[in-house]
């Protein structure tokens, strides 16, 4: 079944009135008629209107969305599932929210990076028009600032890993607490620094915010030992790290060896990229029991993609293991989680087809 946005918070009185009107609209809902006037009035699911698209770098753009109902807020660092129609087909993606929760205009923003060959990011980047209606799913993620805010902070980001951290920086700045924050951000070139201008302005205005831009095209990749130069007291700081897997791994080891692991907060989640970076297996065949379709995966393709290529109609949502829309019951066989490389599978288990590839022959009840 196709995925929906989250139900918005609507007053009880309004719900009661709508329920009464249902006797007149059954089997449709009053919403179905109200949406003729304004699709944002849906009480079934939260929707939003795209207000503006602001280009940040040659391959990243910020999309500002005004939710139909008052934004219930998020914790800076969390991500949002967003549904949008591209070429007639509704797609769901998860993006880090880059706005802080208290924007006075009530808007929220995401800042997708253009993924060549992708479906949604090129659309958001090149084709979407202000006024487009999107569906807003749940806000999730545990990569968030502790409460109360630690006195000393270190942010390390690379590429589009800046996105959850930007929301944190904006929230801290709005609260007037940008007092002792070190930020190391890596990008290939200066013009590829997402939010570059805003970051530099923040640094100029707030002496307590020290920004190190590391241009990897010139200076090379950040290696863990350089931390001691950039931020000698890194061990004492509550650290938030978001970037590609290689960087996470290298720095993670450093904290494990020389630091206090509990102080390091890592975001593994990388929006709108391939399914994952876990080890790959040999693949295998997939028997879809209810459609009697057979498919084959080379170990790279998740069950969902292999099935779709073989002509099976399968449910899907986020396609990245978050929303559980795509689940099917495993009848037999083993699968590999493409995000972690872990091989698992017990008969009867509910499997997410979007992040698992077959490891040998599998049968799935879909």
């Amino acid at each position: 079944m196709a995925e929906r946005g989250v139900p918005p918070r609507v007053s009880d009185g309004r719900r009661r009135v709508l329920n009464l009107i249902r006797s007149f609209t059954s089997p449709l809902l009053p919403d179905d008629y109200l949406e003729l006037v304004n699709p944002l009035w849906s009480t079934r699911e939260l929707r939003g209107r795209i207000e503006r698209i602001e280009r940040e770098t040659p391959n990243a753009a910020t999309v500002l969305v005004k939710p139909g109902w008052e934004w219930e807020g998020h914790k800076p660092g969390q991500y949002l599932r967003l549904g949008i129609e591209v070429d007639g087909v509704h797609h769901w993606r998860a993006y880090s929210l880059t706005s802080d929760p208290q924007r006075p205009d009530g808007c929220i923003s995401i800042t997708p990076k253009l993924v060549d060959g992708g479906k949604v990011s090129p659309f958001l980047f090149k084709r979407v028009k202000p006024g487009t209606i999107v569906r807003l799913g749940g806000v999730e993620g545990t990569f968030v600032l502790p409460d109360p805010l630690p006195r000393q902070l270190l942010f390390i980001s690379a590429g589009s890993g800046i996105t959850p951290i930007m929301s944190m920086l904006r929230a801290i700045a709005r609260a007037g607490k940008l007092q002792d924050v070190v930020h190391v951000h890596c990008a290939r070139t200066e013009e590829e620094v997402i939010f570059g201008r805003e970051l530099r302005e923040l640094a100029a205005e707030h002496p307590g915010y020290r920004l190190h831009e590391r241009l990897t095209g010139v200076q090379g990749r950040l290696i863990p030992t350089q931390l001691d130069e950039l931020c000698p007291d890194w061990r004492a700081r509550e650290t938030f790290l978001c970037g590609p897997a290689g960087l996470l791994e290298a720095l993670g080891e450093r904290w494990q060896r020389d630091g206090e692991e509990a102080k390091l907060h890592v975001e593994h989640f990388q929006p709108d990229t391939a399914v994952g970076e876990g080890e790959r297996g040999q693949g295998g065949t997939i028997d879809f029991c209810s459609s009697a379709i057979q498919a084959c995966s080379d170990g790279e393709q998740p069950i969902l993609v292999a099935g779709e290529n073989a002509g099976a109609k399968l449910p899907y949502g986020c396609r990245m293991g978050i929303c559980h829309t795509c689940v099917g019951r495993l009848r037999s066989g083993q699968v590999r989680d493409l995000r972690t490389g872990r091989v698992h599978g017990q008969a009867g288990e509910m499997l997410r087809t979007c992040i698992n590839a077959p490891e040998g022959a599998v049968e799935i009840e879909l």
Binding site: F24, L36, E85, S291, A292
Partner: protein, 426 residues
Amino acid sequence: MSATHSPPTAKRLNEIEGPPPRTAPNHRPSPRAVQVGFEDEPDNPLARLTPEQIEELGREFDALHDEVFAELGDRDSRYIRSTIKLHRQLVLAARAMLLGSRYRPLWLGGTAALSVAKILENMEIGHNVMHGQWDWMNDPDINSQNWDWDTASPADAWRHSHNYEHHTFTNIRGKDRDLGYEIMRIDPHQKWHPVYLLQPLYNLVLMGFFEWGVALHDLNFDAIRAGEKSKGKVNRELKAIGVKARKQVVKDYIAFPLLSAGIAALTSGRRGSSSSSARSSFSSTLAADFTANIVRNVWAYSIIFCGHFPDQTYTFSQAEVEDESRGGWYVRQLLGSANIDGGPLFHLLAGNLSFQVEHHLYPDMPSSRYAEIAPRVRDICRRYELPYNTGPLSKQLGTVHRTILRLAFPGGKVRPKPGPYRAERI
């Protein structure tokens, strides 16, 4: 029978509409399948085609399906959204007019608009959405699993009896319960029984109250009689019909008439006249809703009965379709269905079931595409010397009613068939 050709293992048809799976490697029609049956229809085109031709034809129909599905996009999404929007606007206009239903022109306008809205909703939107024709959009609001329609039959029950049973076993005698809907003798192969003498009469009743007929038909009385359905299941299904029926009745025969009455009472000036105008508004709105439901029922009945019961169509014995291949499945759909000629507006109101042939070949294809692929289907028919059943509504419906009258009495013969399609070339 050749000793070297071992008959394929019969694969059970799965609970999906559509032809047997493409990936099944050994799906070839058994030589037996082309030898048995056809006693009274020696010209049955299925008997004339070689297994190789049937296989090739299956590939051609598959390719056409894939071609259309690769193209689906914005244009199709805009089409279904605007059709849904049109329906809702029509409903609003109709209901607004019917608030003043005690005035004759408003009654007429409102009833006409409501009838068209209900027809559009049942045929082009409900039937097709519930077939999954728009599921490729992945939109939760236009999805076969979430949809419910403005008619007495609950969505789940209908999806099973229609999508699965009827579309899988189309025109197989003894398996397709839509062949006469368990109450009519529509095919001379069906054994006569004196109760059929009444069928011209209850045919008329069914026409007017078709939605209730469909709801009860979904219960599957044959299965209940044969004890194949547990009592609990029957009770659950009856309850679902009850819940759905109550909502339909409350809306059309209580809520809207009361609303009209209330408005009439408020707007008429003098005390004495307000209660009488409320009463007359109540009954005129009720009459309008009733009329719209009857109009929709007669229309749906007429289009649907023209789908498989005109003279041109073939029915099949179970032996004839044993071990049916994918190509054979397509041929059966082609032979068992009939189109109705008409213009774009007619096709829209018919829910494109006037392209019944195309619909049965591709039940999951968006209905708006049927008109576009029809010339290609006709071309396949021409090349394989297969019939392409079609005709004007008057002719198709005329032959259906003639059959219903004739077969009320014992005997009756299979009507002559039109033979291969030969006309345009593309």
